[in-house]
Symmetry: C2
DNA sequence: CATGAGAGAATTGTTAACAATAATTGTCAA
DNA sequence: TTGACAATTATTGTTAACAATTCTCTCATG
């Protein structure tokens, strides 16, 4: 239970807490850890083969980034963004990421472009293979990759946090089928980078973010009700 | 030594780590903790009357925000931003804060305006009284206050981090006399808020940030050399 | 006089035990 | 059967001791 890390089951000890944070980030982005999931210390200890201290530090870091909520004496839970928080996250993304795209367009080297092309191919591949988890994760990582190309680690960290929180928002308010991104829009942005057209890159990014935003219905909390229903109907053993 | 908290020397126990983080933030903004200062666990424990755990958690939080650097087995030091990091911080501020100002102009209520007016008066007062520490802190807090008025806690946290790191940058690369902000530019921004002129607010903020940026000389690291000299000349007991 | 080795002190990292709080189960009475 | 209450269990929060590493000071040596 609580299988966060896939693969290597063996000599995983000695893992540092940044790696733990990243693994949990990924699991959340892939929506394998839905909002509200309890992250008990014991589970995480055995999942990562580390002591309680590491787990505790990791949870604190996750909480400081709004991805996990620490409740006093009650433990850590995957955050459940409120409507207000969701609006704030989207607003922050619209503020930051268009400029990230602009800077990326100005600074992308040949190598960067190739890397982005390879990434988009992986995205397409994942979608072809119907690997939804992977597709969602790669889709989110595209945005982080852009920040990397923009050569600004400060903003890269911010984008990483915002992308992760967006996954939580989609998990709560999105309809079941929605993926994080339209892939074709990623291609368009990449095309703008190729053309070194920074204004276009920024505009396309803003448009792209608005599309993501319009796929979630923040006005109603029906998602949470649906959860209740599914629990009640699916749990009768 | 390491007098971070002023005032209340007595029953300060029970302080939670967010308060510790804020106190250190303030001390850094006021430039009472210059870049490179060692923050030993023992000092902080006695400074705040808390156990080692709290201090450790606080330092981790500060490190995750780029304000403190944790060196393995060697302890925590107030961060010394490199030239590259400084450029990134400024770039992030130019990305985020103009839009923060724009949103603030749209959303400021009468109460908000009054609060900002009061804040500017405190700034002027501090400058009149030649209270440099207070003046610097209030000057930085103006930017955070704007984010609060914009009603976006996500961006507020980002601005807080960026303002603090800017203080470090000024401490390292600024000439001794430079304060963080020109006060009159704050007034101009406030005037734009009053007029509900969001475009003007954004433009003024961008201009303001460029001015701050131009007051530090990132091309040379002379500041660090000065530090070295002062250390060598002042330490011969 | 400078340099390096080494012992001791100080500081940080980790573990484990203990205390405090919350969740769960079981019991009893209405 | 249901609801409240008590005892047990599980989980989190805290403290203290221990281990490991780094720092500092001394002293011998080139």
């Amino acid at each position: 239970m609580l299988k966060i890390a896939d693969g290597d089951m063996l000599p995983d000890e000695g893992i540092d807490e940044e790696a733990i944070v990243d693994r949990i980030y990924e699991a959340i982005i892939e929506q394998r850890l839905p909002p509200g999931t309890k992250l008990s210390e014991a589970s995480l200890c055995s999942a990562f083969n580390v002591g309680r201290m590491r787990v505790r530090r990791s949870l604190l870091l996750l909480a400081s980034r709004g991805v996990v909520e620490l409740q006093n004496n009650r433990g850590a839970y995957v955050a459940q963004p409120t409507m207000t928080q969701a609006l704030e996250v989207f607003e922050a993304r619209r503020t930051i990421e268009p400029n990230v795209a602009r800077l990326a367009a100005r600074r992308a080297t040949e190598t960067d472009i190739n890397q982005l092309v390879a990434h988009l191919e992986m995205e397409a591949e994942a979608r072809r293979k119907r690997d939804r988890h992977l597709a969602i994760r790669l889709s989110g990582q595209f945005h982080v990759l852009l920040a990397k190309v923009a050569h600004n680690e400060v903003m890269e960290r911010m984008v990483k946090e915002l992308v992760t929180r967006t996954s939580l928002i989609i998990g709560m308010y999105g309809s079941p089928g929605t993926s994080n991104c339209h892939d074709d829009e990623h291609s368009e942005i990449l095309q703008a980078l190729r053309n070194m057209n920074s204004d276009a890159a920024a505009a396309l990014m803003e448009q792209h973010l608005r599309h993501i935003e319009h796929e979630v219905d923040l006005t109603s909390e029906r998602k949470r009700e649906v959860d209740l229903v599914s629990i009640l109907s699916g749990d009768n053993s």
